[in-house]
């Protein structure tokens, strides 16, 4: 059996067209989950097939692709997905956020501000923000159609009554263009402000759940909260131990079994650039 050559970026053109149509619908209705016929991919559901299908559908031979997971280019799943596109599309890849035209990400938004013309593709496990309160798809569909979102605030109310704070720290729900409530994927709430009025196009792909949604550039994206318990941006008590940044999301690294810890930037590209800038400054 001779090995079959793959179409550019693995998916056949018919499938890409179908996905692009879903993407266009999603852009036309910001924050609304568009059903699409997700294909079986060579990596497991839950491991980024939605993001991979979106990227495959929009990728062109002149694109420059960056893939990150937990903010880093070198985590195993990011490596695996990047290798997949190298093998099936032969596109140029990069770890430099500012150089990329398409960035596929799992669970983080890059620290480096994005520009017009860039596309951020998010991997989404559970697209439905109301799912944990209402397991039925038939009911959540109606709730979105009728803008019946009272139950979302009930959840936030419960958090405050139980913990004194809204207890959602990631996948923090947002209202898009004053209409649909959306799950921004499991990014830490630290990243939520980056979605608002972003110059880049943001696309969200959920392969297993078969939904695509989008935030067009420069769209209003507001996290849900109460007037007297407004959304608070996370602050870290430490600075990055490698580059000194105080404005980036930090990973906690356990250094010994006696409780030793250090904090480093989750965004490895951002951190490395800062480190190399510091070295340059020091050399001058």
């Amino acid at each position: 059996m001779t090995p079959r050559p793959y179409n550019f970026a693995y998916l056949d053109e018919q499938t890409k067209r179908m996905i692009r149509r879903a993407i266009l619908k999603a852009i036309a209705i910001p924050g609304y989950q568009v059903p699409f016929a997700s294909r079986e991919m060579p990596m497991p559901y839950g491991w980024g097939t939605g993001g991979v299908q979106v990227t495959a559908a929009i990728l062109g031979p002149n694109d420059v692709l960056k893939v990150i997971d937990q903010g880093a280019d070198d985590t195993t799943n990011a490596v695996s997905i990047r290798a997949f596109f190298v093998k099936t599309a032969g596109v140029r890849t990069t770890t430099d956020t500012s150089e990329a035209t398409i960035i596929q990400t799992r669970h983080r938004v890059p620290e480096t501000p994005l520009r017009e013309g860039q596309i951020l593709v998010y991997q989404v496990p559970i697209p439905e923000p109301l799912r944990f309160l209402e397991p039925r798809e038939t009911e959540t569909r109606t709730m979105h159609a009728l803008s019946e979102y009272g139950v979302m605030h009930v959840k936030l109310y419960e958090d405050i009554s139980r913990h004194g704070h809204i207890a959602t720290t990631y996948a923090y729900p947002v209202r898009v263009a004053d209409r649909y409530i959306m799950d921004p994927s499991p990014i830490p709430k630290f990243d939520n402000p980056k979605l608002d009025d972003c110059p880049a196009l943001q696309l969200f792909g959920a392969g297993r759940e078969k939904r695509i949604y989008a935030i067009p550039p420069y769209t209003r994206v507001i996290p849900l909260d109460f007037e007297d318990h407004p959304f608070e941006r996370t602050k870290f008590d430490a600075a990055c131990a490698l580059c000194g940044a105080t404005d980036s999301y930090l990973d906690e690294v356990v250094t010994d079994d006696a409780g030793g810890r250090m904090f480093v930037c989750s965004d490895t590209d951002y951190c490395e650039k800062r480190q190399s800038d510091k070295r340059k400054d020091a050399a001058e």
Binding site: T142, L146, E148, Y149, G150, V151, H153, V154, Y157, E158, I160, S161, R162, F226, E227, D228, H229
Partner: protein, 257 residues
């Protein structure tokens, strides 16, 4: 004379061979409490679901006069309008509290939900309203953060009532609100309901098989048998001086203790 708050005309509903409602017509005025009584299988619960917009009739119509005076036919309401009415103008108290409450959400969350659905976004104010209502239904304020699964049966019903009344509805549908509760608990609950109806000027449609409940809470009564209204009138008159043999039988069957 202004139009009735709710008017049912020629309502019919069947399940297969069973005619649950045959050609039923009546009206309810603002502030009036109407009891629909009958034995199991009389069709009273079906009738309640029809006039509450939870079921579509096979024939006939239901008309409701909204706050701005417009008369709306139930069948002309969009799903969005129907749900909006359910949250603002109407209430529905279920016999089984589990159907009318979110069991794993705190009392405060349960009561506050309608307010949040209507756009209230101040946690402190929502909580204060919920606490006020909890007191009004005679539940101690320190239960505000507890979920209904920790409540007794009587407390759950009172919580259900609070959840429905927080938006000052004009019309409340009740399906055997005291069913399954201990007699002493029932008495307290009925007293509470009677007080709230008077205080808030609520219109109520109450389905019950218990004539004593009908006597205590309602001004007017409909007696149903096999899908038909066989007698109607002022509650005291019908119960003291029943005209039809069936109603006489019902009244005389009630054990006097």
């Amino acid at each position: 004379m202004s139009a009735a708050l709710l008017a049912a005309e020629g309502l019919c509903k069947r399940y297969g061979a069973i005619q649950a409602c045959r050609d039923i017509s009546f009206e309810i005025e603002e502030g009036e409490a109407l009891a629909i009584v009958g034995e199991s299988g009389s069709g009273k619960t079906t009738l309640l679901h029809l006039i509450a917009g939870l079921m579509t009739p096979d024939a006939g119509e239901v008309r409701y006069r909204t706050r701005d005076g417009v008369i709306r036919n139930h069948s002309s309401l969009s799903e969005a309008e129907r749900r909006a009415l359910m949250r603002t103008d109407w209430g529905f108290v279920h016999q089984d509290a589990a159907r009318g409450l979110r069991f794993s959400v705190s009392a405060g969350g349960n009561i506050g939900e309608r307010l949040m659905a209507l756009g209230e976004r101040h946690y402190g104010r929502i909580r204060a309203s919920a606490a006020q209502w909890l007191e009004r239904v005679e539940i101690s304020a320190d239960r505000l953060d507890h979920a209904p699964w920790t409540y007794s049966g009587g407390m759950r019903q009172r919580l259900q009532i609070a959840r429905n009344l927080v938006t000052s509805p004009r019309l409340v549908f009740m399906d055997e609100p005291t069913g399954g509760l201990d007699v002493s608990v029932q008495a307290r609950l009925l007293d509470l309901i009677r007080g709230l109806i008077a205080e808030m000027g609520l219109a109520v449609v109450l389905v019950t098989h218990d004539l004593a409940v009908a006597r205590l809470l309602s001004n007017r009564i409909l007696v149903m048998k096999d899908g038909e209204v066989i007698e109607s009138g002022l509650t005291d008159r019908v119960l003291d001086d029943p005209e039809t043999p069936y109603t006489q039988l019902l009244v005389s069957s009630v054990l006097a203790v």
